[in-house]
Amino acid sequence: MILSLAVLAGLAAGLIRAWIGKRHYRPISLRHLWLLAASVASQVIAFYLPATRRKIPDSIAAAMLVSSQASLAIFAVLNLTQPGMELAGAGAGLNMAVIAANGGWMPISPETVRKLWRDVPESSIQSNVRLRWTKDFIKTEDSTRLAFLSDRFVISFLKNRYALSLGDLAIALGVFRLLWTLGGPKNS
């Protein structure tokens, strides 16, 4: 849920900004929500619902991930008139690029996996395997295309650790900026 925190933080910051400026918070209407709904629904089926994800072969799940990432990047482009969506869209595009370049999975190095689960024996971390039901695939840096866009930035939050990509950071910043701007003056 780490990226959802960007929504929460941006909303809180925007509401405080509006309150300090004695303004109304101005919610916006995003366009082409059907594209968002279809993309997320395909990911829910392939990655989140236990009843469906175990029936879907990895090759199909990878294809579903690439197509849904592309749809989400297009969704951001179709909403470029909104502040912050250029950054969020760039983040979605970067994630799509690295996922598409690595067989439909987000690559993560064994070193980064070790940082996430420090108590797991080193010998049990193998390369070239999908990490359970996640979007991630363990690959060495040498065999990863666009490695600088992979899940490689490890942060700690509330006793948990998370690995994020450059695209994830851009998405978080873009969404934060959008929600912050809605609490500002109309022409900001």
Binding site: T134, D151, A163, I171, L179
Partner: protein, 40 residues
């Protein structure tokens, strides 16, 4: 429908949409003491 109601609906739809967007477009990985999971 009252203007305040439609504004509230617009607000809720916006927040839900943005949460869905970050969950879908993002690809963080959650670690720690539990099993591997989506970082959403």
């Amino acid at each position: 429908m009252k203007k305040s109601n439609s504004r509230l609906i617009q607000f809720v739809v916006m927040i839900v949409s943005l949460v869905l967007f970050v969950i879908g477009a993002g690809a963080p990985l959650g670690g720690g003491s539990g099993a591997p999971g989506h970082g959403g």
